[in-house]
Symmetry: C2
Subunit: 241 residues, 2 copies
């Protein structure tokens, strides 16, 4: 019992200092849509993803000839060809390429966790594969929900709760924090019908207004890939298993 590792949830990036610990794997989660798009990109053969925090950095990379994806307020930023729709990365044209990406919330959360021992990218898409890998690592895990402009966001917390549930079920993890217990409860209430559960959520309403219902359906369908994007230096690569 005493050897069990902790799996905890941090609801927004600004609370990260209260939850961070030494020797912890951080799972960055931005279900709608940054981390789902990253999983889709690796699943479609992308070789490397460089998350950047600002549009300025993104433009700098663009000028150097990189393929750059930039999203703000749910839309592709003017002057870029890609945003954070997972479908944008499924055309086959980015196989073995490097992609630079900046988004409203997800890339910010990635940079928030810069001091973490290890950082991996989580979404409902790679829930089972990533859970399995986390269980094998024998380290404490912190699920970092990206939220929306540093506010609590339902779909990221539910996804975090799904990881908490999987890891606790393995018998190798336990949880100390109310944030993790709440996330798990919300996941257990939501899992039979994410779309219905999230129908009132602020972010879903925001994306629906932008006609992104297909994206939402895709991002809320668990276990479509077994990719695990992992941080190496300041970028992401596919974990070799």
């Amino acid at each position: 019992m005493e050897n069990r590792k902790k799996v905890e949830v941090c609801h927004t990036p600004s609370l990260y200092p209260q939850y961070r610990k030494e020797n912890q794997i951080v799972v960055v989660i931005d279900v709608l849509r940054a981390t789902s798009a990253m999983c889709a990109a690796f699943d479609n053969g992308v070789k490397k993803i460089i998350p950047v925090a600002t549009i300025e950095e993104a433009r700098g990379y663009q000028e150097e000839g990189y393929i750059v994806a930039a999203e703000r307020k749910g839309q592709i930023v003017e002057g870029f060809n890609l945003g954070n729709s997972p479908y944008g990365f499924m055309t086959g044209e980015f196989k073995d390429k490097t992609i630079v990406i900046t988004t409203t919330n997800g890339t910010r959360a990635f940079h928030t966790a810069r001091d973490a021992d290890e950082v991996v990218i989580g979404s409902l898409l790679n829930l089972e594969a990533l859970s399995q890998w986390l269980i094998e690592q024998d380290k404490d895990v912190l699920c970092l929900a990206s939220g929306w402009k540093d506010k609590f966001c339902l779909e990221d917390t539910i996804c975090a709760g799904a990881f908490v549930d999987s890891l606790i079920k393995s018998g190798k993890f336990t949880t100390d924090e109310d944030s993790s217990i709440a996330a798990k409860y919300l996941y257990l209430s939501a899992r039979d019908n994410y779309m219905a559960f999230l129908k009132a959520s602020s972010h879903r309403r925001r994306l629906k207004a932008l006609n992104l219902n297909e994206d939402i359906k895709y991002c809320l369908t668990p276990n479509q890939t077994d990719v695990i994007p992992i941080r190496k230096e300041n970028y992401l690569v596919l974990l070799e298993k």
Copy 2:
């Protein structure tokens, strides 16, 4: 529909800047136990409560002859006779008196909301009475959960969710934020048996270890009083209805 006011939930004091708005009534909630104790105190005839942030300020008032309650880490601070147990304020000896109080989380949340238009004290104890009053005010409402050392805390969020549920049921309120939706879901799951729902919660474990089960039972029993403590200058008085 368009005239409906908002009722929102902020899960911890440090996120308050993201949720604050002009012309908003803030309901400060610290179920275990500061705001429950404040409700109990007014219900037992206390005239005025001065919440202070630090032990040093509390000592200053003590030296001036005030009755002072001071709690840290769930226990009465050395040198003081009262902490934040509601039962401490039910002896009848503080009728018409002023009490100075400092606690780990609740008094901090009170000070966090210092710029709010109005501040009232909420707990499960005055849920119905305060909900009714809030419904009559025709203003936006923000439930500010005190949390635990700026982490998310389950019982405060559930109590906030109870206020959200009551206000929305009145037909005069709606909600925009995922934090409020989550709080309401957690309340609806918890309301039939708070003790069982919270059995895993970190704060309940903390207090149980200190033999405070009677306090917990009291604080988790809704609608035991109709007092509404309201801020006036930098202290609290009983709202005259």
